[in-house]
Amino acid sequence: MEGYQVIHEKSPAFYTRYERKAEMQNQTHYCPGCGHGVVHKLIAEALTELGVQDRAVLVSPVGCSVFAYYYFDVGNVQVAHGRAPAAATALKRANPESIVMAYQGDGDLAAIGTAEIIHAANRGENICVFFVNNSIYGMTGGQMAPTTLVGQRSTTSPWGRRSHNEGLPIHVCELLAALETPTYLERVSLHDMKNIMKAKKAVKKALQIQKDGGGFSLVEFLSPCPTIMKMDPVVCRKWVGETLMKTFPLGVFRDHKPELPVDAKFPHKTIAEALEVADGQTVDLVPRRHHHCRDLTVKMAGFGGQGILLMGQLLAEMGLREQMEVSWLPSYGPEMRSGSAHCHVILSHDRIGSPLLSQPEVLVAMNELSLHKFGPTVASGGLILYNSTKLPEGFSAPQARVVCVPASEIADTMGSAKVANVVMLAALLEETECLPTESAIAVLEETVKNPKLLELDKQAIAAGRDYVDTQIEVGAVSQPDGYSY
């Protein structure tokens, strides 16, 4: 109007239109009188006033506010129920310059996300959590929340919450105030103008703390939910002030930066340093397609302690080194120590669908038990490498070629039974020619830190390769039934 100037209007931190649906793009989806809209408004204003809208990231929860990303013109992520503080942690750590806000309701934060909020607060993550407490599950239709008042009726506490059956309402601010690490914890209410202005200050303060690198802050809003409470918006707001606030007293529960012991600092590396390239240099990420790298599916099995899993890991690492797609699936369980251990390794030029192998092309059997157990599963035309000089009586796998490599004996003559797995790995590489042995040496040099052991491993590689080269005749008939591949 002429002669007047605008002093309060829609914040530029909101989109001008909300494109969630085709119609009514000028309205939020919240019910009339919902507290979320007010909290949204306060956050949006604080972002603008602090000038951080362009680096703000809002983590939307599960709950009525799940669609917050349709309203805020900031970076947005929507996460699984209760996980907002965990996702916010990752966002903040990955990009410390961003201003990360986790927006959560009471079902989200205080029920399914209890672990996430406690641990994020305990780590003193430099994030803001905006916790909207309306004492009920709103989106799902009014089930009892951890913050539901004693005696309050809900669809899952139809006679009212009873302390002996459902416990007492959880006081999140008080709970977190028991930790040493949070910087700022305050509970505010949205039940009248005066308190909304206090809430506005709290929101701005929390964001300012994060902007200054001050640590973890949480603002809890006591908020009306007129629809679920079956109240008129005005009456529901009064109920917040008169009833909800009695159980959840307002106040500042923490307002100082924690004094933490000085930790040893991690070495900080830029991405360029980690990739060992000059700053600004581009890294060629197009996979090299070596003709000598072969797609292969391998099952390795033996006693626990024979280095079966390590052997598989080495093979997978080699594949990675040659820029193939790889997977390594170990067996786990109490069977591992002196029981049987096995793992599945896939080397592929294409993406791998499943790391599980029902019919491996190659079986590495480091003991007789594994040979009997897994020999029959080897694919037709496959290969079995068996850790002995000859096959046991009565074993037959006519679909596969069997090569006997006495890896344990070879390792023993070298002075350490530990390297039998490396001998066998070398035999596998030589027999299948799936990957170059130089690659194995390179991987060992990276993983084995003990120089003596590394030397032994290198000898084991040579020994395994030589054995296959010199002792196994091409087309040798190794099956007791005279089958030749």
Partner: protein, 95 residues
């Protein structure tokens, strides 16, 4: 000019859901719910046309981001001065 209200409030009836929180919050009681239904089927809030002080209470109590816009009368003496600190003044006035 003394009869001219200090403030003015503009309500977007397309955005108003008729919750009535602004009406209840308005200190000078210058807002009301329209007696007739709008095309969304709600009694949208409206300004009676007199008595607005530009305090901003309705703006902050309203759950819709842009349903309410509040204006304040530019004092004749300061009309030429760029209105920089106005927002802070407005907040102080409301507390």
């Amino acid at each position: 000019m003394s009869s001219q209200p200090r403030g003015n409030v503009i309500i977007d009836v397309e955005e108003c859901k008729g919750c009535g929180l602004c009406v209840e919050s308005c200190p000078p009681e210058c807002l009301e719910l329209a007696p007739e239904l709008n095309h969304y089927g709600v009694h949208a809030a409206q300004y009676t046309g007199e008595g607005c002080t530009g305090c901003g209470a309705c703006f902050y109590c309203c759950p819709e981001p842009g349903a309410i816009t509040v204006e304040r009368l530019i004092p004749p003496a300061k009309a030429a001065v760029p209105p920089v600190p106005e927002q802070e003044v407005a907040h102080a006035a409301t507390l």
